[in-house]
Structures are given as structure tokens and as C-alpha cells.
């Protein structure tokens, strides 16, 4: 199964009229979060945050390299490409967010 890029604009319904845009090096802010004890995780709780990016755009990310007690709304984060999943000999990597390092 593959993840398709978004085809239709959620605001104006334009089709296939997007520009390549990288969020990887943009700063983000924790808009809201949870510490999820039910999600299966090697490092519980699963800290899941809705991240708003500088310049617009948002998505849900796992937080990594974080102290759960220090996570709060408004905390600044950066993106990091990390292992998310291992199954039958395959490592699966995707983006996570982590507190900005000083």
C-alpha cells in the first residue's frame, strides 16, 4: 500500500496544482498533544502531538527524544528522520518531531 500525495486542494478544489514543499527543515510548534498509554510503544507513553509548522501546514507526529513531563502546548520542535516500525526483517523509517536542541 502506498501513500498518495494530496491531489485536490481542501480550500479551493484545484486539482494537481501543488508545489513541492519541504517541511523537513522547518521549525514546528506543539499545537496540542497527548501522552498515549494505550498505543503500543517501545518507549511508552507514546507522545503524540499536532505540530504546526512555521509558515503554515500541520500534521500529527510522534515526539521522540523527549521527557514526557516536559511536553507542553507551544513547545518548539524540529523534524528528525527516525525508525518507526520493524517487522519481519524490515525497518520502516519516517519523520518524528523532537524538542529543539540548544
Amino acid at each position: 500500500m502506498t501513500t498518495s500525495p494530496i491531489r485536490v486542494c481542501a480550500v479551493c478544489q484545484a486539482v494537481d496544482d501543488f508545489e513541492e514543499y519541504s517541511f523537513a527543515h522547518r521549525k514546528g510548534t506543539v499545537f496540542s498533544y497527548t501522552q498515549d498509554m494505550l498505543a503500543v510503544a517501545l518507549d511508552p507513553p507514546t507522545s503524540v502531538a499536532m505540530i504546526d509548522f512555521e509558515g503554515g501546514g500541520r500534521s500529527l507526529f510522534d515526539l521522540t527524544d523527549r521527557d514526557p513531563d516536559q511536553v507542553q502546548v507551544g513547545m518548539e520542535v524540529e523534524m528528525t528522520f527516525r525508525k518507526v516500525f520493524f517487522d519481519r526483517g524490515l525497518n520502516n523509517y519516517f519523520w518524528k518531531a523532537r524538542p529543539i536542541r540548544c
Binding site: M1, T2, T3, I6, A10, V11, F31, S32, Y33, T34, Q35, D36, M37, L38, A39, V40, A41, P45, T46, V48, A49, M50, D52, G56, G57, R58, S59, L60, F61, D62, V73, V84, F85, N92, F94
Partner: protein
């Protein structure tokens, strides 16, 4: 130009199984038990049914579960899969077939044997690519609670206490309901001290995960009184889909559900309701989590934005309040067999309107509202049904 369902279709019989961890029953038992109760209630037989719609997201894989369970003889049959709205949406489709004049008597069924999925909570449905965060359903609604507390300046203690009162109320109602899954009475202290599932939501902020079935028999308004003196009429049936923009654009505040608001506003317009807080007598809403119920009170225009705490503290939504919510215990206590929930909600409104709700009876209700919310708060599918005498 949209038409209106108002007063064109009536409910003449309903049935609902006990909800719970029904290890000794199969899907067929739940379908048969719910439908047999509905037949008896309406005074009709299987041969009177002209078409059926069945709602289920895990248990059925086509209309066959329903026709096979009931051994229906070559009947028109559809299966509706529409997230947590499946039950309400299959009733909507059944009602539209009657309003269109295609059939006179139809059956709407909802069923789920969710405990057979082998999970506590819901199986992961939206993470097959492993390219986004792995939040559970409690998790994505907990994010809403965090934001609600932050936006309206509630400390964690104040916010959690507000939510705890919602669960205490639902358990008080559910304790009086012999068909409810969870019938224990709670205190605010017990809710606050429960284990955390997804911060800030604890165990008693989460609804039951239950097996169950429910059914409704519908006919035209013209024929309704042939079957009973107190049919319940459908006043509105609205469902609102989502552009899923709340998960990608920063405009979404994560403290309301736009699709709930719009489904409610459309339903009020269809039913001719201009002052929901005073005209709606009672509501069964999609309290998958306590925060969902809180926000839904604002989305349905029962409470002003950011002010639901005042109504919760005043007891507005308690059984003896001015606008009782979850008189049967809600998803919280009656339980949440997904495909059955929408019809289960209408079952309670139906009993209340007919004065048959026993210890839970609300005095002289006129209009009841049922609300479902499927998927996550930032990308949901919401439906609202209004019924009355």
C-alpha cells in the same frame, strides 16, 4: 433544491439487545434478538418487510449477514459501512426509500460483535502505511482535551473535573438501564483517580467497547397509525462529511468539530428548530470520550462556545436537568457496538417519547436528538437525527 424528511417517515417498532461483552452470542443472535423485539413492538412479521439496510463496520461483509440471520426470503438488502455513523446512516437510507415512495415498510438494523475482534479498544484502521503518528482513538480525542483546557484557561484539575462530571452523570443514568453494558455508579473522585489511558483522559473518560444490536421498523407517515397510536416521526436526518483539512491546515482550532456543528445546523433547519437549547427535549450524543460530549454540547448549540463547563456544573444535562443528555447512559455506559450505536440512540429517544423509559423517564419530551461522530475530531463524519411525536 433540497427536500425535507420532516414528518414523512415514522418509526413504528424498535428493538435493542443488551449491550456488553456477549461472549456467548454471535452476530446472528444479536440481529435476531433486536429484530424480533422490533417486530413484536410494531406488530408486524418478517413477511411484511419489503427491504432492509444493515449497518456494521467489522462484523458484516455485505447484506447477507442480515438476510441470512433472519432467513429473509430473497429480500432487497444493503449493507451500510460508514464509520461510527453506520447505524444512523443505514436508518437514513431506509427512511429515504420510504419517503421516495419505493417501499411501505422497511427494516434498519445495526450490529457489531466487536469483542470478537480480539482487541481492547478499536483495531487500528488508518495506519497501514506507518507514515504517520500512531495515536489511538483515546489519543486523538485526548489531544482535543489538552487543547480545550489550554484555550479556555482550565488547569488540568479543573478540566479533568469538568470531564469527570460528564461520566458521573452518564453512569447515574446507565445504572438505571437494564440493557446497558456498564451499570456501576461513579463519583468524581473515582473518575479522577482512575488510570490514565491517554493523558488527560483516564479510564472513565472512555466509553464501553461492546457487542450489541439494534433495529427499527419504518413506514410512511400516512400508514403509521395503522400500526400503533404513538408512532415516532423523523424530523431531520443529516450527515456531514469532511474535507479532512483539520489535520493539514492550521485554521482548525481542535476545540470544536465543524462537521458536528454543520450536521446539527442542517438538522435544525430541516426540523424547523430555531432555538436548540430550549426546543430539544433530550439528546443522545456520540460520547466516545468525555471531551467529545463536552465539545458536542457546544457544536450542537446547547452551550455557548467555551462555556459548557457552566452547564455541566449547573447540572443542565443531568436526567432532571433542563436538557437531559445520554438518558440511557450513552456510549459511555450503554456501550458502543459501532454499527448498532446510531439506532440504539434512537431507541432511547423512541422509548422516552412514548413514555416507556421506566426509571429514566424524562417528563413530557417533545423532540429528541441523536448525534454520531465517526473517525477523528480533525477529520470526522458527523450525523444528526431529530425525532418527535
Amino acid at each position: 433544491m433540497a427536500g425535507s424528511i420532516k414528518d414523512r417517515v415514522a418509526i413504528i417498532g424498535m428493538g435493542c439487545t443488551k449491550f456488553g461483552e456477549l461472549w456467548d452470542k454471535g452476530p446472528t443472535d444479536l440481529v435476531v434478538d433486536a429484530v424480533e423485539e422490533a417486530y413484536a413492538d410494531a406488530g408486524v412479521e418478517a413477511k411484511d418487510i419489503e427491504a432492509l439496510w444493515g449497518g456494521s463496520i467489522f462484523t458484516a461483509h455485505g447484506g447477507r449477514l442480515f438476510t441470512e440471520s433472519l432467513r429473509m426470503q430473497y429480500l432487497t438488502a444493503s449493507h451500510v459501512v460508514n464509520a461510527c455513523d453506520s447505524g444512523q446512516d443505514d436508518m437514513r437510507n431506509a427512511a429515504y426509500s420510504v419517503a421516495a415512495g419505493i417501499y411501505d415498510i422497511v427494516l434498519a438494523i445495526g450490529v457489531e460483535k466487536i469483542k470478537d475482534e480480539g482487541m481492547s479498544g478499536l483495531p487500528g484502521m488508518d495506519n497501514r502505511t506507518h507514515t504517520h503518528a500512531v495515536a489511538t482513538m483515546p489519543g486523538v480525542f485526548a489531544i482535543m482535551a489538552t487543547k480545550y483546557f489550554h484555550r479556555y484557561g482550565l488547569t488540568p484539575e479543573e478540566g479533568k473535573t469538568m470531564l469527570a462530571k460528564i461520566s458521573v452523570k452518564s453512569h447515574a443514568n446507565g445504572s438505571m438501564n437494564p440493557k446497558a453494558h456498564l451499570r456501576n455508579v461513579l463519583t468524581v473522585e473515582k473518575v479522577l483517580n482512575a488510570p490514565i489511558i491517554a493523558w488527560p483522559l483516564g479510564l472513565f473518560d472512555c466509553c464501553g467497547v461492546s457487542d450489541g444490536g439494534a433495529a427499527a421498523i419504518l413506514t410512511s407517515a400516512e400508514r403509521a397509525k395503522e400500526f400503533r397510536k404513538d408512532p415516532v416521526f423523523i424530523k431531520a436526518l443529516q450527515i456531514c462529511g469532511t474535507p479532512s483539512s483539520g489535520r493539514i491546515t492550521t485554521e482548525y482550532d481542535y476545540t470544536h468539530v465543524e462537521e458536528s456543528y454543520r450536521a446539527g445546523a442542517a438538522a435544525y433547519k430541516e426540523a424547523g428548530v430555531t432555538d436548540p437549547r430550549n426546543e430539544i427535549s433530550m439528546a443522545e450524543v456520540h460520547d466516545c470520550f468525555s471531551i467529545t460530549e463536552a465539545v458536542t454540547m457546544e457544536d450542537l448549540q446547547f452551550s455557548p462556545r467555551g462555556k459548557v463547563k457552566d452547564d455541566i456544573d449547573a447540572g443542565t444535562f443531568e436526567l432532571n436537568g433542563t436538557l437531559p443528555v445520554q438518558p440511557d447512559g450513552g456510549l459511555k455506559c450503554f456501550g458502543h457496538p459501532i454499527g448498532a450505536s446510531g439506532i440504539r440512540m434512537v431507541y432511547e429517544l423512541y422509548l422516552q417519547l412514548q413514555g416507556r423509559a421506566d426509571k429514566r423517564q424524562i417528563k413530557d419530551p417533545k423532540l429528541g436528538l441523536a448525534h454520531n461522530l465517526g473517525h477523528e475530531p480533525y477529520a470526522p463524519l458527523c450525523s444528526v437525527c431529530i425525532v418527535g411525536l
